[in-house]
């Protein structure tokens, strides 16, 4: 749910930022560079003029990740020598001097959060002008995070041709069909037993205005993502490192593991942009607690990149408490902080987090359970901060039909309530209120589970384990109650949270003799899919290709669940298990 909200917000902001850029008439003057180390390390090739304008660099604004990757490319290909500390300094400087405004970065912050998007061709996300060029190879967030002049975009395109020559003929300026329509025969296709469809050759899709795809893309980028925008001018005038020192309440959600609550203590360091962190997290459903220590950097006044290490040993479970976890968080001017903490060979594991500053008053964040049944009796754990030690059952209001009968445990950060849900309580989301503090829509009340869904409904994993890491895929079975219309799958349905299901793989029959289910991997009791090893497999000769990782395939991931007193429910999700990504274009150093 949170993801869909974030995406909606992102799309709105994306549209809004485009509108700003498209109407901008700001002179596109280059941005002076005045940092001595940046000039010393980059100035050998990127010459400066007297007014501080550096070739190339002064004509680009972008994210810390892209700046960091540019430095890496200079190291690898052009002989630049910098220490890690120097590189870090340059990335910080350029992110501040030639960065993105919050309004420009927010719509594509999922790129920094390393979220796996399902469809890079989504027209709502990818402008049509970029559909046939940049997003063939790049995640679109990387492209939408660029601000350059027209000439600089052209140089960027030339660099692609210089480094990857076939880019030109395969993407930028693809060759026209080699034959005229008259030279291509008409074919027929049988439909059913009696019909035949005649297929006439079709003209290829004409590029816009007779322009090649790269020219369409360059026009779009120059117009919609110019070097200078009102948003950047406004932000640069007030940009400063936010005052983050203090204690922050964390609430989060990890797919497959459920709700997470905790506290993060952030301490500022003398440098100003650097912080240290101490974290305590508790998984609400399992009660497992982890402690971590870390550090973070704030780029461009709003963009947190951090990294934490576990206090003690990492868990064997690849989806739980890794040795090292990366953090990308967006700090809004209103003081809210949200983002993703992630890990795994492909950053496929993650916790969506939301941080709020802890003051002196009581704060309630949420409950361990997503839902309770009517009628029922049971326990409900409520998480928060500054919960007083003297409590009475009457202090808690859980909404109509729910009575708190006893307080079983109480700590400043959580309280365990015994509750009694009356028969006939209407299906809906309930708040937890305590002396003026409220956890809004903390849990649902329902009479019966109507159906389950496996979420996500489609995903992918990558073979690995020998040369490269495996990419796991976590599924969860989520229960729903029909809404007032009594129909499943409609907008008024109520999410009741994940349930403990039985998991299995089934063949997705995509071809004759399909047997992928025997080779792709396995799913465990928690809905975690573990892919098989990459590499040749003589049993799968047909799968041999230019990446001889023969265990790939596509399958259904199925969940079955029997509600108490109800009929068994089933659901499934489509899973593609694909080849490893042998070359990883990543920017892990940004958070170091």
């Amino acid at each position: 749910m949170r993801n869909s909200v974030l995406l909606t917000q992102a799309l709105w902001l994306f549209s809004a930022s485009l509108g700003v850029a498209a109407t901008s008439n700001i002179p596109q003057n280059p941005i002076p560079v005045d940092d001595a180390l940046t000039i010393a390390k980059c100035g050998g090739c990127h010459k400066s003029s007297e007014n501080g304008v550096m070739r190339r660099i002064s004509y680009i604004r972008t994210t810390p990740e892209v700046w960091e990757q540019a430095i890496k490319r200079m190291l690898r290909l052009h002989g630049v020598r910098v220490t890690a500390e120097e590189a870090s300094h340059i990335v910080r400087y350029l992110s501040a001097n030639n960065g993105l405004a919050p309004e420009e970065a927010k719509p594509i912050f999922w790129e920094a959060e390393h979220r796996l998007f399902r469809d890079q061709e989504d027209p709502a996300l990818v402008p049509a002008a970029l559909q046939r060029t940049c997003n063939y190879c790049h995640t679109i967030g990387r492209v939408l995070g660029q601000r350059r002049t027209r000439e600089e975009y052209q140089k960027l395109a030339n660099m692609h041709v210089g480094l990857f020559p076939y880019t030109d003929i395969m993407v930028f300026r693809p060759y026209p069909p080699s034959a005229s329509l008259a030279e291509i025969p008409v074919t027929t296709t049988a439909v059913g037993s009696y019909d035949t469809v005649v297929n006439y050759p079709k003209e290829p899709e004409a590029p816009t205005g007779g322009k090649a795809p790269i020219d369409v893309a360059l026009d779009y980028l120059a117009d919609q993502q110019p070097l200078l925008t009102p948003a950047w001018s406004a932000w640069k005038a007030v940009m400063q490192t936010p005052k983050l020192g203090g204690t922050w309440l964390v609430d989060g959600y990890q797919k497959g593991k459920g709700r997470v609550f905790g506290q993060m203590v952030i301490e500022a360091t003398p440098s100003g942009d650097d912080f240290t962190t101490k974290l305590i997290l508790k998984y609400a459903s399992s009660g497992r607690e982890i402690k971590r220590s870390g550090k973070g950097i704030v780029y461009t006044g709003y963009s947190w990149r951090g990294r934490s290490k576990v206090d003690g040993s990492a868990a064997d479970d690849p989806g739980f408490s890794p040795a090292e976890m990366k953090e990308a968080m967006f700090i809004s001017r209103d003081g809210t902080v949200e983002g993703r903490w992630f890990w795994g060979g492909y950053d496929e594991f993650g916790i969506d987090v939301h941080l709020t500053r802890v003051g002196t008053g009581t704060v309630l964040h949420g409950t361990d359970k997503f839902s309770v049944q009517s009628p029922s009796k049971g326990q409900l754990r409520v998480f928060g901060a500054n919960i007083p030690s003297t409590l009475k059952t009457a202090d808690f209001d859980l909404g109509p039909g729910i009575k708190v009968t006893h307080i079983a445990e109480s700590k400043p950060t959580e309280v365990l309530l015994e509750i009694d849900v009356a028969p006939g309580v209407a299906t809906g989301m309930h708040d937890v209120a305590f002396r003026g503090a409220t956890a809004v829509k903390a849990f649902a009340v329902y009479d019966r589970i109507s159906y389950i869904k496996v979420m996500p409904d489609a995903s992918f994993a990558r073979l690995g384990g020998t040369i490269v890491a495996k990419q796991f895929s976590q599924f969860e079975a989520v229960a729903f109650a029909n809404g007032p219309d009594g129909q499943p799958g409609t907008d008024d349905d109520l999410t009741l949270g994940p349930v403990t299901a039985n998991w299995s793989l089934e063949e997705f029959i995509s071809g004759p003799n399909d047997d992928d289910v025997k080779f792709v991997g396995s799913v465990n009791d928690s809905g975690l899919f573990t892919p098989s090893l990459e590499g040749p497999n003589p049993a799968r000769k047909k799968q041999s290709n230019n990446y001889p990782t023969d265990n790939y395939g596509d399958v259904w991931v199925s969940a079955s669940f029997k509600p108490e007193g109800g009929s068994p429910l089933k659901a499934r999700s489509y899973l593609v298990v694909t080849v490893p990504q042998y070359v990883h274009y990543d920017q892990p150093e940004v958070s170091r």
Partner: protein, 384 residues
């Protein structure tokens, strides 16, 4: 005399031994393929195994065989041109086309005449071999790395002198060909080494001394079999000698728009083009002609992706009959080749396996795991 005779005898024996050694090191029945670990593998077609390997300086990517079949020209991924002496099995570097700052690119691309509308990456190497052995010709585009940006230069046509190891001539393309001969074209040098035949919709003939067009063979109004233009493509068929170009073609009649697949041969000396219809132009992957030009082999397919079903088809070129078909399990990406005696089919590609099929029974004979990626086409030597 006595003192001389043994010397002569020894000399004759040595020459005989050398000839025998040469025969074993390079002969029809051996074939060659480049691999990612900077090797050219020597494969014995009769033994069906790798019998040698020739180290090369870079990862081989583009190949072209000399007219006498004793040398193989290789352009590696670093744009280094190497010459492999197939007799001594030694590679020597001719020149680096890239100087570190500038990188030329040779595009071996040609119209795919089997699937009109597409391009064929395998049929034409992008290199034209001078039958006299002095030059190698190509059209290249250079990307120059300036101090902090890349600059793309116009296409040019170059003659690489294999003796002096230099680019001896570099010509700009005429204005009407500012993108070079383009993806619709392939080219071949005349038997005397003086002219260039460029196969586009028509065949353009250039004087190689001046790089000016001097003549044209019109194919755009074909005499046979339909009204659509015919187009031929030079392929690296080892059985095409210096005087001939053999090419499949497709043609579409103007009435019911059905496709016909045929075989055309151009005699570069007489300029005569002969056309032989083979059969209907059905969806297929590749079409290879046996050394005796009597049989054709194609891979027919149905459906796509994981559902693709592939079959070998053998065509009798004289009777236009499909004389044998055989389903087989193919890899997702592949090329196929024909042995120098026409008795075996090879299935390979950008992976690490080479599968051998009997061209007569179409049965799989052997699957060889090379345990390294193949980076070039298979080069067979014609049994001339």
């Amino acid at each position: 005399m006595k003192s001389v005779a043994p010397g002569i005898t020894f000399g004759l024996l040595s020459m005989a031994a050398l000839a025998a050694a040469e025969d074993s090191l390079s002969r029809p029945g051996l074939m060659y393929i480049g691999t990612l670990d900077k090797k050219l593998l020597v494969f014995d077609e009769d033994k069906q195994e790798v019998v040698g390997e020739i180290p090369v300086a870079g990862v081989p990517r583009i190949t072209a065989l000399s007219a006498d079949q004793k040398q193989l020209f290789i352009v590696n991924t670093r744009m280094g041109l190497e010459v492999v002496d197939l007799v001594t099995r030694k590679a020597s570097s001719v020149l680096n086309l890239s100087d570190g700052r500038s990188r030329p690119d040779v595009f071996g691309l040609a119209p795919d005449l089997i699937s009109p509308g597409n391009y064929d990456f395998d049929g034409f190497s992008g290199l034209a071999v001078d039958p006299t052995g002095q030059y190698l010709y190509s059209s290249i585009r250079v990307t120059v790395k300036d101090l902090d940006e890349y600059r793309i230069e116009p296409m040019k046509f170059v003659a690489i002198d294999l003796h002096s190891k230099t680019i001896a001539k570099a010509f700009p393309f005429p204005k009407e060909l500012d993108q070079g001969f383009g993806p619709l074209s392939s080219f071949k040098v005349s038997p005397d080494g003086k002219k260039l035949f460029v196969f586009s919709k028509d065949i353009l003939i250039f004087d190689l001394a001046t790089f000016t067009q001097i003549d044209k063979i019109a194919l755009s109004k074909p005499p046979y079999p339909g009204a659509t233009p015919l187009r031929l493509t030079v392929t690296d068929d080892p059985y095409d000698d210096a005087t001939k170009v053999t090419s499949v073609f497709t043609s579409v009649d103007p009435i019911v728009h059905k496709g016909t697949l045929g075989l055309a041969t151009l005699n570069l000396l007489t300029r005569d083009v002969s056309y032989t219809p083979i059969g209907p132009a059905l969806p297929m992957i590749g079409f290879l002609v046996s050394p005796n030009r009597k049989l054709g082999y194609s891979v027919m397919f149905n459906y796509a992706g994981g559902n693709r079903r592939t079959e070998w088809w053998v065509w009798d070129l004289q009777t236009h009959q499909v004389i044998k078909t055989q389903p087989f399990e193919s890899r997702p990406t592949f090329r196929f080749g024909l042995s120098s005696d026409g008795k075996k089919l090879y299935l390979y590609g950008s992976g690490s396996t080479l599968e051998i099929f009997d061209a007569s029974t179409l049965a799989s004979l052997k699957l060889i795991y090379l345990n390294k990626d193949i980076t070039t086409n298979l080069v067979t030597l014609a049994r001339k």
